[in-house]
């Protein structure tokens, strides 16, 4: 098989996160490939439905829990529509892992703040579980997550698990108007809630992922809290085809997002033209 040939993978489970967002759990069919497959938190893959094409998503499951690959996608386009139609037992394609990763080893002993919005929790969830599975290596862990409405919160069961752990501070919020009568979390936009929670920037790093508008307003809050741009990490979404630095689609200025990213610091982003 050539560079662009995918591994075949079987859908072993599917979880509806919201009405339009689903998680697929995949197992590579080739036993050797399944055995040797490894990746780092933050890397992505090209997932395909034969006949519909390929699309890049992060690997949403943590590398500390090998055996299966999870992807969480929202129904928006051609490939995600086709992915939505696959059932348990069906075969899909997977190429990867590609791209760089979050430098967890550099974060040992530090406080870690996760800030996510909507389906932006998918790549962050990979890092959260990676950190929690290596919990003793890190100091305080804080999660600030929000969505437009209660119905739009993804990974609800895991949010509950994190909320009940006493070694994690979990703050969940929904946008004003998105709350239900029995909603016990916060109400407010993620950047606002982040400024209210005001986690300390001392010896801390932040991982931020969400819609562009959330990222845009969260960066200044983090800056005000004292986070250095080098300590704020995010992962970019760009349209990609090859995933391996050939097809020229994911350039942002001098950067190939598929090879140099998708993980960037806020300091790196500030050097790039606003083409993302």
């Amino acid at each position: 098989m050539n560079l662009y040939g995918p591994q075949l993978a079987t859908v072993v489970d599917l979880i509806d996160e919201t009405t339009d967002t689903r998680t697929l759990r995949l197992e590579l069919q080739d036993p050797v490939a399944r055995e040797v497959f490894s990746f780092r938190a933050g890397q992505f893959g090209e997932y395909s439905v034969f006949g519909a094409g390929e699309a890049p998503f992060c690997i949403a499951s943590p590398p500390t829990r090998p055996g299966a690959i999870e992807c969480t996608f929202k129904l928006v386009g051609k490939v995600t529509t086709a992915l939505r139609e696959v059932n348990v037992g069906d075969t899909v394609g997977f190429r990867g892992p590609y791209g760089n990763w979050f430098p967890l080893d550099d974060w040992k002993g530090k406080n870690i703040l996760f800030v996510a919005g909507g389906i932006g929790l998918a790549p962050v969830r990979c890092v959260i579980w990676n950190v929690l599975d290596r919990r003793e290596e890190f100091a305080e862990v804080t999660i600030v997550y929000g969505a437009r409405s209660v119905a739009d919160l993804v990974y609800k069961r895991e949010l509950e698990q994190w909320a009940t752990r006493n070694d994690v501070t979990t703050v969940t919020t929904v946008d004003p108007g998105g709350e239900t009568q029995d909603w016990a979390g916060r109400v407010g936009f993620v950047p606002t809630v982040l400024s209210q929670v005001a986690p300390s920037a001392a010896d801390a790093v932040a991982v931020v992922c969400g819609p562009p508008v959330m990222i845009k307003f969260s960066f200044p809050v983090l800056d005000k809290l004292g986070f250095a741009d080098d300590d704020v990490f995010t992962t970019l979404e760009m349209r990609m085809k090859c995933g391996v630095g050939k097809c020229g689609r994911c350039n942002i200025g001098p950067v190939y997002v598929c090879k140099d990213g998708p993980v960037f610091t806020a300091a790196q982003l500030k050097q790039l033209p606003a083409e993302y």
Binding site: L3, G5, T91, E275
Partner: protein, 387 residues
């Protein structure tokens, strides 16, 4: 040049016949028709004084009589012989919930390109960098490895040519295995790589030693004079400091000059199609019937809005001038920064083919002036269009 040998016109035809008889594919400029429209004339550069209005293309030829070496600029580059306009990556077949995959073959039959424009051959070497970057593109590399390329010294086609300004040359052998130079009665030929030397050795009976020819010294002088004259002619078209241009673009994304230079573009993407170095592609699935299909890669262009459009509707490059900036940026800043090579060989095709009048010679000259002066220098054309 040393090590040159003489290849008479008839021996060239004989050599092509020998190659074909041995099962080698021969790719060479050939007459594909006539330039039957002003647009075809313009894009094939056959308005050169004295040139017949022929449509020249690189073709896989079956008959030596079809060779049309040195008869003008092929209107398309060699690119499609290495990165086809569309090609199968794999075939898939569905059996219940299982899928069977059949990869496209990588092994290629032996090929020889004769009479490539030096700018088109240089593009191959430039693209080798990205195609071998970390992940090796076996489809590209397979075709490269199977293909010997001999360039033909170019007299310069027209004032859209600017190869020396971007590190190529009208008598260059970058990306090639040897060079032919036209002389009276045939060509002087020299191999510059082991692959080229092996090819010439295998066909030594078609070649004559210059020292054995009574006019050998004269032929050598003729060839050198042809090359020197071409170098001088084309150098006059454009002179820039490529490193200053690169540095200026990298630090002036939002400069009004780049916007002004981009506004004329209407995003048709013709420049990318004819460009020997534009290599952006799409990957799509096409059904071949019920339950089976082919995954293909197809040429794509950064000049269309869909290129970067997300499924959500968000588009990082919403405006055409930004997309034009990306093309300039990728060629003259991003690629040199990453791979040490300008992603352009000065062939001039984008200028000839552009119906909006975008002229890369003018654009590079303008950026070069801005880079040297350290400030923007809008062109009259750019200002007019911007207004």
């Amino acid at each position: 040049m040393s090590g040159e040998r003489f290849l008479g016109t008839e021996d060239l035809a004989g050599l092509v016949g020998d190659l074909l008889a041995a099962g080698t594919q021969v790719i060479a400029p050939a007459v594909a028709g006539t330039c039957a429209s002003p647009a075809a004339l313009a894009s094939s550069a056959c308005l050169r004084p004295g040139a017949a209005p022929e449509l020249i293309q690189y073709l896989s030829i079956q008959d030596p009589a079809l060779l049309a070496l040195g008869r003008g600029m092929p209107s398309l580059s060699l690119k499609s012989f290495f990165l086809p306009q569309n090609e199968a990556l794999l075939h898939w077949k569905q059996r219940g919930s299982a899928i069977e995959l059949e990869p496209a073959p990588v092994e290629r039959r032996r090929r020889v390109v004769l009479g490539a424009k030096p700018c088109d051959a240089a593009a191959l070497e430039i693209l080798d960098r990205v195609m071998r970057w970390d992940y090796v593109d076996e489809l590209w590399v397979g075709r490269r490895d199977a293909t010997a390329v001999f360039t033909l010294a170019c007299p310069m086609e027209d004032d859209s040519c600017f190869c020396p300004a971007v590190g190529a040359a009208p008598d260059g052998t970058r990306g090639a295995d040897g060079l032919l130079t036209p002389v009276d009665g045939g060509y002087l030929v020299e191999a510059t790589t082991d692959r080229g030397r092996e090819l010439l050795a295998a066909h030594a009976d078609r070649l004559k030693d210059l020292d054995a020819l009574s006019d050998g010294a004269d032929l050598r002088d003729q060839a050198e004079a042809f090359r020197a004259a071409a170098r001088e002619r084309v150098a006059a078209n454009l002179q820039i400091d490529a490193e200053s241009v690169r540095a200026w673009i990298a630090t002036h994304y939002d400069d009004p000059l780049l916007t002004a230079l981009g506004v004329r573009c209407n995003g048709c993407g013709a420049c990318s199609s004819v460009c020997p170095t534009c290599h952006c592609f799409d990957i799509v699935d096409e059904p071949d019937g019920v339950g089976c299909g082919t995954r293909r890669r197809c040429w794509d262009t950064c000049q269309t809005g869909k290129f970067t459009a997300h499924a959500s509707g968000h588009n990082p490059r919403e405006d055409q001038n930004v997309r034009f900036r990306q093309r300039i940026n990728h060629k003259f800043s991003i690629y040199p920064l990453r791979f040490g090579e300008v992603l352009c060989t000065g062939c001039g095709r984008c200028t000839r083919v552009c119906h909006a009048g975008q002229d890369l010679v003018e654009i590079l000259a303008t950026i070069d002036v801005a880079a040297r002066r350290g400030e923007p220098e809008p062109t009259a054309a750019g200002e007019g269009d911007a207004a």
